[in-house]
């Protein structure tokens, strides 16, 4: 199961969460599948979807899901330690681990070889870490959201991207639209 198909299964699960999505193919696929005000798309800055989601979860009460990738987490792996030591109950980090740098031509990452991101997250002190397959991901996210404890989910899936266009929304529009969703009453 590829990332696009995993994201498709997440659409109903994420409808009440704020979503911070990783740069490149993940954001483009999410935008094509289900653009809505609760999504923050990263148009640049490799590696920071996890940290942005953490900052957001630490400063307001709504549920936050960061959709990140294995390559992206590998560039900012130490943020797993920051999360573990400052864990907001309203935060889920979903790492779509397809063992490749999807946006740059599917070059292999170390997560597809010897490195286990779930073991890294546990070693950093994250207390709720789930590793699952692509088809199990939606249930894993749903369950993490209902438990209400900061959870890291590593979804092992196949590499490859859907053919979707580049996001043409202005960054300030993306941010302001997202901030109105953050501030909106439930």
């Amino acid at each position: 199961m590829k990332r696009y198909d995993v994201l498709k299964t997440l659409t109903p699960v994420l409808k009440d969460s704020l979503v911070v999505c990783n740069i490149g193919a993940p954001s483009q696929e999410l935008f094509a599948l289900n653009d809505n005000v609760n999504n923050f798309y990263m148009l640049g800055t490799m590696g920071l979807a996890s940290s942005i989601g953490l900052g957001l979860a630490l400063t307001q009460d709504k549920q936050v899901v960061s959709i990140d990738g294995d390559g992206s987490i590998l560039t900012n792996m130490a943020t797993l330690a920051t999360m573990a030591n400052n864990p907001p109950d309203n935060f889920v980090l979903l790492i779509v681990d397809n063992g490749s740098y999807g946006s740059t031509g599917d070059q292999p990452t170390y997560a597809g070889r010897k490195t286990s991101l779930s073991a890294v997250a546990r070693a950093c002190g994250c207390e709720h870490v789930v590793e699952c397959s692509g088809p199990e991901t939606a249930d894993a996210v749903k369950s993490a959201l209902s438990v209400g404890k900061m959870t890291v989910i590593v979804s092992k899936c196949a590499s490859g991207n859907a053919k979707v266009p580049v996001i043409d929304m202005n960054p300030i529009v993306i941010r302001e639209r997202f901030m109105s969703a953050v501030q909106a009453k439930e």
Binding site: T45, I52, G55, T59, T82, P171, R175
Partner: protein, 168 residues
């Protein structure tokens, strides 16, 4: 050991409604960080690296907080991409209180190397930059913090060795 100027800096952060701070330590910032950890009005989430800190601050801002980062000038070599493609591209206000190592009074020669590039990098990025050399310049801090939020820009406050020594 913290001294009155460290407390004055924290008081200015509070007076400007800054309620989220991330930091990567520097010897010159030790007093400010010490007081920060005792300050209930401000949530302090230390970062491992400054680009991670920019991500935390961007998220905190979107969550409704007013965020600030404490860092050393050497880290400007780390954060250029995060400043350009996240903080500036999305117009996120971000005061950066930067310990300016490598200026006169610096004991470690290597620190001079990044000091040489510090203002050039900030200039190249068109980041409003304020250099605190004398302790009394700290009176401008409140206005500078306000300026960052008014303009929705990153701003840099470079505080050098003479500033910190004069304040001790």
């Amino acid at each position: 050991m913290a001294n009155p100027i460290d407390q004055k800096i924290i008081n200015d952060l509070i007076a400007n409604q800054i309620n989220f701070v991330t930091s990567v330590p520097c010897k010159q910032l030790a007093g400010v960080i010490e007081i920060l950890d005792e300050t209930d009005e401000i949530q302090h989430v230390p970062s491992n690296k400054e680009d991670e800190g920019m991500g935390l601050c961007a998220g905190a801002y979107m969550g409704g907080a007013r965020a600030c980062i404490l860092m050393q000038n050497t880290a400007l070599g780390v954060v250029v991409n995060s400043l350009a493609t996240l903080i500036q591209f999305y117009q996120i206000p971000l005061p950066m209180l930067i310990s300016y190592r490598g200026e006169v009074g610096e004991p470690v020669a290597c620190q001079v190397e990044m000091a040489l590039h510090t203002k050039a990098i900030l200039n190249q990025l068109h980041i409003p930059t304020y250099h605190f050399h004398q302790p009394e310049q700290v009176r401008e801090l409140g206005g500078i913090l306000n300026h960052a939020f008014m303009s929705s820009k990153p701003v840099a406050i470079l505080a050098d060795a003479t500033f910190w020594k004069g304040a001790a």
